[in-house]
Symmetry: C2
Subunit: 217 residues, 2 copies
């Protein structure tokens, strides 16, 4: 809940609302990005913004993700269109004693900038890193991308040069005047859990790989 | 996994990639919106898109949400800036036999348009509806917004006139050639669960309200 200076903090990413929730610390930014699976990515086309979900990984001081060469929006990103990459991890519902202070716990990261297109070995490495983040341990079990599949894939990197992180945690922020209200107040935690793996009925039966057990979050 | 005609489907919201995952049916759109808690909302400022998370509710054929009058981005939305409102519910990890077909199960809704600002009784009603969606049963227990709090709040509505919905489900979409690969394939389900309520230690102790038990998702 403290605001710290960070190399990637700029006027555009400074958290204007609720600045006590801004934690512009690089380690916190990395932690939020490493905990997420899906980001929401914006592209503007003819003045109209579009927001699409994308699986991603962090690779040092950048995030990497991929899309289809058939996607107009991904082609615009590959051409350097300005983007915003936002990750939101919902951690809980905050039940305050007033409507105004009722809110949510979350960890959020926002990155502004333009993507660069990765090619050749750099793209190959990035695809593996994305798989390693989303499906740790899986890569060595699966068929790597064919030349044709690679040709249909745009692999993009967005640097973390201009980024912010915001963490909302702690008890409800009720006004002192509201504390006497005779009602339970607190936080209902939310977390994402993995269920029992459901096998594909095509192909022969195989044991569930051990690495999946480690994915419980 | 079928594409249906729907009144809110336009050229801009037609799902171009993986059209077999587009379900442009109004009931499916409502179901996805009703199942989500947080949307990702885009605003463009000086060519730069920004994506921010927002709690919301569906109210008939529109979505409603609120922000602060102190937020430049929400003020732009209130002034009618074009926006994109995207809800993504992550349902699982798809472990295919190839890297290319490895993916995620999700339900996604995208709404394009411009917001209108709600005022007076309409704003009051919308704030209650948002609370009823995010924290069902809570409203009657908490202090309603004061005049000062209302004056600091922008309540916005976005019509579902131009919207699409996309549902990714089912087994991995592996090429027939990959089915012989000697590795487990299938889906690891993901779901959001609520944990044990954590009481605020300020104020007197009160019983956890019964309505919270019904929130398990």
């Amino acid at each position: 809940m403290t605001q710290l200076p960070a190399p990637g903090s700029t006027e555009r990413t400074r958290v204007r609302r609720l600045p006590e929730k801004a934690v512009t610390d690089r380690a916190a930014l990395h932690q939020v990005l490493d905990a997420g699976l899906v980001a929401h990515l914006a592209v503007v086309d003819d003045g109209q913004p579009y927001v699409v979900p994308v699986g991603y990984a962090r690779d040092g001081d950048r995030v990497i993700f991929h899309g289809s060469t058939g996607s107009r929006l991904f082609r615009a990103l590959a051409a350097g269109a300005p983007t915003c990459f936002t990750v939101t991890l919902l951690d809980g519902l905050v039940l305050a004693r007033s409507a105004f202070e009722s809110s949510m716990h979350y960890r959020g990261a926002m990155v502004l900038g333009s993507c660069s297109l990765l090619e050749g070995a750099e793209a190959d490495d990035a695809l593996r890193l994305i798989s390693d983040h989303l499906l740790p341990g899986r890569w060595d079990d699966i068929r790597p991308p064919s030349r044709k599949e690679l040709a249909a894939t745009l692999v993009l990197a967005l640097p973390l040069d201009e980024a912010s992180v915001k963490i909302s945690a702690g008890p409800p922020d009720d006004d002192p005047d509201d504390l006497d209200r005779p009602v339970w107040a607190g936080v209902v935690p939310i977390r994402e859990v993995f269920g029992e793996p459901v096998p594909d009925e095509r192909g022969a039966a195989h044991d569930v790989p051990g690495y999946i057990a480690g994915w419980a979050r």
